[in-house]
Amino acid sequence: MKCGVGIDLGSTTTKAVLLDEHGEIVGQGITNSRSNYEVACAVAREEALTAARLSLLARALEQLPGEQRTRTAALAAALPEAFRFELYLDQLADLEGELRACVGQVKPDSLRHALEPALDEVIERMSRTAASLFDGSVARRSDFFRDLAGAAFMAAAEAVCAGGAVPFERLAGLFDRAVLDVETTMTRKPFDHVLRRAIARVTSQDAVAAPDAAGVVDLVLAAAAGTAIDEVAFVGTGYGRQTLPFPKECVRSEILCHGRGAHAAFPGTRTVLDIGGQDTKAIQVDESGVVTSFQMNDRCAAGCGRYLGYIADELGLGLHELGPLAMRAHRVIRVNSTCTVFAGAELRERLALGQRREDILAGLHRAMMLRAMSLLARSGGVHDQFTFTGGVCKNEMATKVLHDLVAEHYSPGTRVNIHPDSIYMGARGAALFALDDYRAGRGGAPAWREY
């Protein structure tokens, strides 16, 4: 299958989207971009390719003749989660290796000797609970390895440290160092290899594949083999787009990409707000999704996603935990500064005054979104429909405040669209530009490096 590839190299995360020739999404991938932009790009692309192969496999199985489709249905249904579980286990194994390397460097020896058994126990607990993340018994907030493993690690570490023998912060610090290396290392196994493991796991656990298990597996493997992906065009965008191994003509503005991606997801879109790690963008688009005006924050990153990152760090929480905590606020503390640099100071000051962290967090979210409202006003206001994109969309408090502010400042009837895959909108827009280039015979080939 011919695919257009869009890569959005953001300051915090890197996203990749593969579209088929009809503009339909066949695969998406995301990873952390903090340490190494080039590797992040390769990892996100690989992840999107994997997702695309899974998605094409599902399509191929869906198109099997009736009787074969029936026989493979149960395996087909269970495969995507099983596959993701296998990937998670691979990364977990990488993480374990990195954690052990990190703990080996801890000084003094007495601390290391205390941390090592604690770490063993944390790893053991993480392994034990891993399957529950993929068996439908727990609502997964994120597919992002850092979030999944981070939440599992912190939960295990809190339990292990409850007795006070080992300081929690030291264990948490090990995770922070180790996960960065895992995210920026390409150690993925070949697709077929992981697929066979996933199939084996499903068939060993699920009686549905029997009594003709071998025949069903052959059908699935044959379907997988017939779904080659041909990446025919690439477009890169995002904060780090200049560092992509792409020729200049394959790089597009993130403003245009976000506008286009949002419009593709919601064709009624006329205003787009994108809050990324480093930038906030207010974008107006016409009925075709073409940008007509835009405003961005200036060089100060106040009120951008990174602002929440600082807050999370300050509280020792994962970024994805902030929204749910803020939603438990009893009241919204008025916060005057959205300065990223001073956010920590403001937070500490208010905590010292005895204010609840949930209430402070609610205030911080409101301050952040008020700044976004100012940019929206400068760009020409909020017009129906209004689509919110970028990583901050995943934060339920941010989206709640945005809904309230839009109703308050504009029409209460304004439709606010938030796509479950909002974080991918820039990459989706880029992939649409890639398809344009392919159809027009334009574009160029990236200079990928092997990892």
Partner: protein
Amino acid sequence: MSTPAAAAAGAKDESQIRQKRMIGEHFERLARARHDGRKVVYTFVPGNLTELIASFGMLSVLPEINALQSGMRGRSAAYIAEAEKSGHSEDVCTYVKCDIGMLRSGNIGPTGTKLPEPDLLLLSYTGCFTFMKWFELLREQYRCPVAMLHVPYQPDGVITPSMRAYVVDQLKNEVIPAMERVSGRRLDLDELTAQLARSAAAEDDLVAVWESARHRPSPIDGYFGGVYYVGPIFSAFRGSEEAVAYYRELRREVDARMAAGKGPATPDGTLAEERYRLVVEGPPNWTSFNDFWRMFTREGAVAVASTYTRVGGLYDTGFRHDASHPFETLADYCLGCYTNLGLPARVALLERYIREYHADGFIINSVKSCNSFSAGQLLMLRELERRTGRPGGFIESDLVDPRYFGKANIENRIQSYLQMVDARRHGGYA
């Protein structure tokens, strides 16, 4: 895809070499002023009375020019820090802080020679309230006489007879007597009219240079290149023989460039391909001037006209210094500077440039610490888009404080804007 920036960076044009020499000589004259017994007048670019100052044999110092030169030479950060140390806040006009910092650091001018202290502070108040505060600070420092020329703001873009009479009255009864006291000379009307006649000749040539940008490709960049072109006429040289010669030479070079079908000179040589024609509003950033310029040249974007290059005099709407009415013409000059125009007149001027120079759109560089320029710029943007149907871009930086120049952010906005122009030019994507 071809790269629009530049065929090989060539040698400097004769006019550039001449300008550099002129500036060097001027600062040498300033350095020798005390020795030569010449009086020194500090004054501002908008509404500068250069011909009048020169007719008394006095020398001009323009603090904004010194500040921008310090910015271009990488000295402004230290000067601003020095000013902040003495209590000036972060939000104060950075030209002011740069100047104050330079003063506190020994008042060494842009060419490395020490500037003489002023014998007169001539405050031409044209649309910028900060000017008054700036010279208040300098007065505290130098304890020298101040002559204030209050120029009425043009809210409707019209100079009324009473406005003109008000300025002429001040010239005759405040400014000229102050100059006579400081210089020890009586006004030499013949010398003043000779100066004014030379100004008009230089202005004719400058307007021809501006209007060359109607040609495709434009042989000039009317913003980044333009700030060099206005150097002599906005500063100490208008009315001098040197300025007449400079503008004659510049016009000849631009005509030759146009005849040869060449694009504008850039920091990297001649621009090879003109892809976008833009009008620019607002001052440039001086601390990263060439980086800023390259953000445009790399994309093949040329500024065909700009308003910043009209702050020290608006000649392409027809004004010329008129030697036959010396006081009235000085009044009209001061009243007509771009900084003295209200928003409707600024919008009308930009609209005219966008249409007459066949621009694809316009960019506003909004300067945080310059309220007189920046207030209302978003309203101007919307109104211009409405009137012309052409897209506006908005970027933010500063005059001479390098802390406010976010390279990635500005480049992102410029590229986004140009890609938006492209899409709209082609009626959509694909």
